[in-house]
């Protein structure tokens, strides 16, 4: 069965968001037991808190889709190996969401589509040659699902990171994480033990600090940030 065929079989109940087992199997790339799948759904509902699971409001469906995505990414680690599958799953969640009514089809829920866009951005990062960074980001999405106090990933910040890496495919791969705002941050430890840190702001600017052989700090547009780091071997990459 292809993913697109599977998507045609998507079902959506009126009271809860329920992913189709066959669809998830195709996207996860391994057999999925119904029990395990429903555990993931229940876990997502637990995250949403029991009292909020009632009538299938657009907001609830969107939240459910997002949390099921995260729980599944934790339950099925192979999703981490293949950002394309994760992206498809994100799209699938968006598709399910968009099928709940004709009006929703023309006005996709922003929260759900944000999940799909995040998957797309991870693919962009992978396509730019930063496979490890893409894997770290998917792990990060899972970690956020585990801890209700973690901030949500800022899609605009992720977009900024993806654009930066795509514009500089020769850079060494950074380690990526999240700051308390949900903005993506990236760190590079250079051969001379200098540390370069960038926080990707949601407005195409980057806040940057370098400590070590050359100290520098500043906030600049993405296209100008490497100029600031020119004295370091990093800037020449």
């Amino acid at each position: 069965m292809t993913a697109s065929t599977a998507m045609e079989r998507t079902t959506l109940t009126s009271s809860t968001w329920r992913p189709d087992q066959a669809v998830v199997e195709v996207l996860v790339g391994e057999p999925v037991s119904l029990d395990r799948l429903m555990d993931a759904v229940r876990e997502s509902q637990r995250l949403l808190s029991a009292e909020s699971v009632g009538p299938a409001t657009p907001e609830l469906l969107a939240q459910s889709a997002q949390s099921v995505f995260r729980v599944l990414a934790t339950a099925y680690p192979r999703l981490h190996e293949n950002p394309a599958r994760a992206y498809e799953l994100g799209l699938q969640l968006g598709l399910q969401q968009s099928r709940r009514s004709e009006s929703a089809r023309s006005q996709p829920d922003p929260v759900t589509w944000e999940v799909a866009e995040q998957g797309s951005l991870v693919m962009t990062i992978k396509d730019a040659g930063f496979d490890g960074v893409a894997g770290q980001l998917l792990s990060l999405f899972s970690l956020i699902g585990e801890d209700p106090h973690e901030p949500d990933v800022s899609t605009a910040s992720l977009r900024n990171l993806a654009a930066f890496l795509a514009e500089h495919p020769g850079l060494p791969p950074p380690s990526v994480g999240l700051d308390p705002n949900g903005y993506v941050d990236a760190e590079w430890t250079l051969p001379d033990d200098s540390l370069v840190v960038m926080v990707f702001l949601p407005d195409d600017r980057i806040r940057c600090v370098a400590i070590g052989s050359v100290d520098a700090s500043g906030t600049r547009h993405r296209r100008d940030i490497l100029e600031m780091l020119k004295p370091l071997p990093f800037g020449a990459a």
Binding site: G177, L178, D179, P180, E187, V197, I211, G218, T219
Partner: protein
């Protein structure tokens, strides 16, 4: 020496901070581990370890876990990291234009609670610089499991 609330921690003493998994890289703090969310002007929360009067570091960390448990959802991937107060103050003076201080601010059920003061509220670059500086002081030996192994 007995300190009262609001007094500065001695430079020879140590402070710990809980970090969730997204603020760690390879088990060590990320550079943004000691930054605050936009609009947050509160001091960075830490615990003053010597105030706990325990015989060793493991016991101190155990007490910190107990104090934090009602306030935070600590996860098995989270870590508690330890800083020397004097080293932190000196390093930040060295790399930034700021002067930080560690101030005892006990809370209900958390007597050893303290805050790192001196962060500039309007200068996020300096805040990132401070945080990056503090991160570089913490080695693997200064990192403890947030939830002890069973």
């Amino acid at each position: 020496m007995i300190l009262v609330e609001g007094e500065h921690l001695p430079r020879s003493d140590h402070a710990s901070r809980y970090l969730s998994s997204s603020r760690l890289v390879d088990g060590l703090p990320r550079a943004t581990a000691f930054t605050r969310a936009e609009g947050d002007t509160c001091p960075i929360s830490v615990n003053w370890l010597e105030q706990l009067k325990e015989p060793d570091r493991e016991s101190e960390i155990g007490r910190v876990r107990e104090a934090l448990a009602p306030k935070l959802t600590m996860t098995k991937r989270g870590r508690i990291v330890v800083l020397n107060v004097g080293d932190a103050i000196a390093a930040v003076e060295d790399t930034s234009s700021c002067v930080i201080s560690f101030v005892h601010e006990p809370e209900e059920g958390d007597d050893s609670h303290a805050g790192i003061h001196g962060y500039p509220d309007e200068d996020k670059e300096q805040e990132l610089l401070i945080s990056t500086t503090l991160k570089r002081l913490i080695a693997a030996d200064d990192v403890y499991l947030a939830l002890p192994s069973p």
